[in-house]
Chain length 339, copies 4
Amino acid sequence: MIQVSIVGSTGYTGGELLRYLIRHPEVRIAHLTSQSYASQPIHEVHKFLKGRLSTICEKLSVTTVAKDSDVVFLGLPHGAAAKTAAAFLNKGVRVIDLSADFRLEDAQISKAWYGPHPAPKLMKQAVYGLPERYREKIQNAKLVANPGCFATTSILAGLPLSAKGLIGKGTLIIDAKSGVSGAGRKLDNAYLYSEANETMMAYALQGHRHQPEILQELEKGGTKHLSLIFVPHLVPMNRGIFATLYAPLKKKISVEALRDIYAQYYLKEPFVTVLKPYESPEVKAVAHSNYCQIGIALSPDGRTAIITAVTDNLVKGASGQAIQNMNIMFGFEENTALL
Amino acid sequence: MIQVSIVGSTGYTGGELLRYLIRHPEVRIAHLTSQSYASQPIHEVHKFLKGRLSTICEKLSVTTVAKDSDVVFLGLPHGAAAKTAAAFLNKGVRVIDLSADFRLEDAQISKAWYGPHPAPKLMKQAVYGLPERYREKIQNAKLVANPGCFATTSILAGLPLSAKGLIGKGTLIIDAKSGVSGAGRKLDNAYLYSEANETMMAYALQGHRHQPEILQELEKGGTKHLSLIFVPHLVPMNRGIFATLYAPLKKKISVEALRDIYAQYYLKEPFVTVLKPYESPEVKAVAHSNYCQIGIALSPDGRTAIITAVTDNLVKGASGQAIQNMNIMFGFEENTALL
Amino acid sequence: MIQVSIVGSTGYTGGELLRYLIRHPEVRIAHLTSQSYASQPIHEVHKFLKGRLSTICEKLSVTTVAKDSDVVFLGLPHGAAAKTAAAFLNKGVRVIDLSADFRLEDAQISKAWYGPHPAPKLMKQAVYGLPERYREKIQNAKLVANPGCFATTSILAGLPLSAKGLIGKGTLIIDAKSGVSGAGRKLDNAYLYSEANETMMAYALQGHRHQPEILQELEKGGTKHLSLIFVPHLVPMNRGIFATLYAPLKKKISVEALRDIYAQYYLKEPFVTVLKPYESPEVKAVAHSNYCQIGIALSPDGRTAIITAVTDNLVKGASGQAIQNMNIMFGFEENTALL
Amino acid sequence: MIQVSIVGSTGYTGGELLRYLIRHPEVRIAHLTSQSYASQPIHEVHKFLKGRLSTICEKLSVTTVAKDSDVVFLGLPHGAAAKTAAAFLNKGVRVIDLSADFRLEDAQISKAWYGPHPAPKLMKQAVYGLPERYREKIQNAKLVANPGCFATTSILAGLPLSAKGLIGKGTLIIDAKSGVSGAGRKLDNAYLYSEANETMMAYALQGHRHQPEILQELEKGGTKHLSLIFVPHLVPMNRGIFATLYAPLKKKISVEALRDIYAQYYLKEPFVTVLKPYESPEVKAVAHSNYCQIGIALSPDGRTAIITAVTDNLVKGASGQAIQNMNIMFGFEENTALL
């Protein structure tokens, strides 16, 4: 039994962490912090917890929380997370950070997208929390940088191509679609029901901060010097990422062979499923779960791989993956509480 | 005042045609035909017509309909449309066909996607009903092949690139997203509310029949021998097409210059609007209207144009464009009933 | 041709007014005012207007607007509307007020729900803008109080019962359901897409301000001393009101006879349609239109009338009805621009 | 560890049963039957099971299934279920029937709504599977009639009123709203996405078969001779029941006292939560869970109780409750697999 706290527990990722933590047999919830809802019971914010969890939200005291916690999840805005992570690490508490603060390894690139880093010394220490790539490092990590939702989905879709050296000259295009909860509980006109329903749009057409994260991990996966375009779209559904990846192929390959490469690559993965050739994954098959489903297709002329992948942005794209990382860090069965 | 009939009036395109026809000052509705709803008033099928239009649906008699009609809209399945079109043309009635039967010019390609053509002699006579390209031919056309919804949106998005010779080597990718009414009122599990809501998927990953239609028109627009990938996706909204086009550029161009090319190309078009650089169009801005809005962007490295375009699949993508064609054919103001 | 201005033109009702005004053959749009978007073109707020209307929003100057306007629509918050109405009336400009400021006749009741009235002297002068009841008064009205969306729907559903003295002892219950745009473009957590989608709730369980408005008009319609419960619900759709009215009947009546009473009552109304016995109206049949459809049913024991009614909250429940009132005030065909 | 089979496993309730069964530590899944999908793996029907469960669907053989099963869930159409239940009971297998076949106790009423009963002798033996009322009987039941979704929600909302004798003269009205999955995976125009989205309607205005089920249980709960109107509505969301109950009160009571009665009544219930006075429950708080949340309000004049309740129609309204019943029948913790 471990003691777990959530710092910044009232956002969507906080709610989704609790959905899994309350059914985790090895977890006791210690502290839930919130600046805006301090002294209110958590079930007033996440109403599905009524009758199930009545922990009172507290303002953050690192000392108090650290004393009672084996691990803390950080559900804080970018920037604030890094400083708080440093404080907990100093006190010997392991940290799973759901912000973007420690996802990028290159300080220059990080600065370009997020501004000067608040805790640059920790950047090296962080482990990118994608179990399919870094499972062993995660086991002993003090600080896990939990990947973004677009990034998780896109990287899982592209990794086997990069690892096997299949990507040819030209540009890798990822046309990604997200449900609205990807924006968090943000009070912005664009996310009002009447504005986001019965419509869709692209955004960040000048560049999106998940692009360098995806690029970093695809290149680390095997193939350097990739040219990557990433265009996100907002789609009227609560949850879900759908990524369509168009990769120029270095040489001809049959769709069956390509499918086999993927199936082999993810053979032992508990949460990644590769579909039959030309089958499209569907968001609903992974909604409210930690799974990623991947579809394999080729363009009619055989020169472009068309890889499609789906996840739930709040689960495999955020809180579920964070729980998966916690399970790995503490030696629990990796799918505990995630079935 | 002209006499207008709809053959196959009870599908979504039939309903949408009526939405515009009942407010058209130069139109009298003559006959509405339906095999399944014969002898029922049309407002039992399209309930928004209650208290507004009580025409009784009839089984199709070409003789009767032809006698009373200056033009007929065909809302029939592919294949059935061609034969019916021939019968009306024989009787001197002009035809606007909303099926795919006369959209493809190449008999070989047409056969590959739709089977042997039921009226091959008429293929040459048909005018592709995209006013932005063929306005003058439409004026005198006896037979208009009304374009598909994916095709209209994708072609309008890509035409200026093709016309100006801007497309370079490599593959033109169109990642298209459609609302569910694009499938018509089809009783298929996939289109049930509980199956199509809160999810999305790609489909036709082995190839979609709008691909050759788009390719034909983009190549006729100026640039031959294009390599085109078209992948459609199903998105949980009633109406709307969102097309994201990724075009390799032959040479560098500023986003402003590219935007100017589009603005110039569509300068006099009543229904096409070009947005500011890097602004994404939104489906809701064109829903329930005959407009197409187009967004212009470049990838950060400047080598790929990212063109986004939206239409309402039932209006500019079907019935609204059909009315626009009718207005052109009969010399009415092109936007009559479409404002 | 009349000159029309909208004061407070950037909300949902402003956008919907413009949808109809731009197709109205007798209207020239003079001024559009906005505090937040002053000096921006209106099409940056209502993007469907791109390429169609480029009027620049101005801060309100009553003098300027009054000089150029035959009528102004007020799309202002409750309270602000009354004062502005007074200013325009003083300058001889007719006013159609879409706020609640002049809907209630009883100053006491008005105060209880909205606070002290900012222009009490005008209350008597205002005409309640429900054409089905007050068409003749509206013709000459200087100040029209445009009804609320819940109120319009509920009143149209209940009026024939009240007028014919059919309501018996007991409580009249109206269980009403609204789409999310009923709340306007309000930045509130509850109206975020991810909060309002895939859920529903009741609200205002302690009482809702449309209740006294409905009660006033149902009692004026014929039957005094009604006991009325009104409970609104929020439903995940952009537009639409669905009202279910349960009325204890004074005496037995057949469903056909009841249906006839409704059909007779609304016989000459251009925008009210009475359905067949036991047929339920559907929101989609009136969405984006100025129509109200009404269904007639009886409980199995025949002691309760179950009346169902639908409107589009932004059209017959707000802007469409305002246009209808304008048409009446200026002697245009009542359905001009509303077909 | 018990052996569990599902007869008729490919509908929505079958999928939802499997969602819980695969995480149940005391359950082994023995057989899954299907007429239409026989010999296909279950994950081709319920795609969330890909990589998680690959059981092959079989045509039903009662002998085979009975041999390997301690309990069977029946996900069959009304009528077919009763006969199959009889066959399994004959072989000593306990049955949880998700159809309506054994819910009504009165053979006359049952016949009026569902036709002649196929296994009338079993009617007496069946236990109505609402744990909040019949937990002890369920423990030893051979045959559990799992309640309907509207019924579960409405009964839980009304039981305390009936039990405490609070309902006065007049009519109890239940205005109920359901998500679309309540209709099952039924190929009917009305349930197509484009037909059911962005709209709502009432249905079964002449009477709905859940009305007698609700009436039976509310009367058995304490107060006889109730007059009950039940009107269901279809709302555009995948899941969820929202019931609004209007009950005439026998005598005045404060809202706090009424709330206390409910809180007391459900004090020990693991899956029923009573909210604060005048708080409305929200579907999203119970979606994908076995919980029921209940709101307590009074009309302004204090003469009518307004009780609101929500459940997930596929969970507490069907499969979750079935698992809860199974847990009770076999002595497991009642919330096993349901957290």
